[in-house]
């Protein structure tokens, strides 16, 4: 009996799996952005020709990243957001990731990224109000994280 329940559960879980991706897949929506090498170009490919205001986002990065393979990037904002994107200028391509912010959900993120060398990280927030906001942080990377 227990075994059957388990089997049923597994089948149900397998069937449910493809249904889960309900957020926007930006790899399909903006395929060009992921191969852009320069930061400006990548931002343009995601958002178009925008002039973001530099305010409203708390971007937390280390001053010196000892290990370029594990750099924590913290993003917090009270601005109601549609999307939040992370870019950097130390790796072969600029785009790191895009959050699709669900309606009413807070912007409070942390993600560990890798960077090849010293550089900067730019975060762009697309507000529900249709405006764009940004934050930038430059820091040193002691040991590059893309070699390993």
């Amino acid at each position: 009996m227990k075994r059957r329940e388990f089997l049923n559960f597994t089948v149900a879980a397998l069937m449910a799996a493809p249904m889960i991706m309900l957020g926007k897949d930006f790899r399909k929506e903006k395929p060009d952005a992921w191969t852009s090498k320069a930061m400006d170009d990548a931002i343009k490919k995601v958002y178009g020709d925008i002039k973001p205001v530099e305010k409203g986002i708390k971007l937390k990065t280390p001053e010196v990243a000892n290990n370029g393979g594990q750099i924590p990037i913290g993003i917090k904002s009270k601005i109601p957001a549609k999307t939040v994107a992370i870019f950097q200028d130390a790796n072969p391509e600029a785009l790191v990731g895009i959050y699709d912010v669900m309606e009413g959900q807070p912007v409070d993120y942390l993600v560990k990224i890798k960077m090849k060398k010293t550089g900067s990280v730019t975060v762009i927030l697309e507000g529900v109000d249709g405006k764009f906001y940004s934050a930038k942080s430059s820091f040193k990377v002691a040991l590059g994280g893309c070699e390993g």
Binding site: I20, L22, D100, P106, D108, K112, I113, K114
Partner: protein
Amino acid sequence: MKIKAKQKGDIVKAKVLIKHDMLTYDQAKKKGKEANFITHISAKANGKVVFDFSTSQFLSKNPLIKFSFKGAKSGDKLEITYVDLKGNTKTESKKIK
């Protein structure tokens, strides 16, 4: 995958550690392997998507992500799914504390 989720007031704080090599194109070339990295991470609670992240090769090896969300409480389940470049999908869930 390691998932931790805890209710704090009207939000739930989540921490997810995924075991994945996150092999970039450059690294793969050097090692003579095929590049493979997580391309999408999504979280669901009470039938709703609460977190969604399209990702690239530049997330760290065994990436750690943290996020906060509304719409769930202690005892509910948080379900995390990821997909990588090769199309491998993994879903795991955890009870919110």
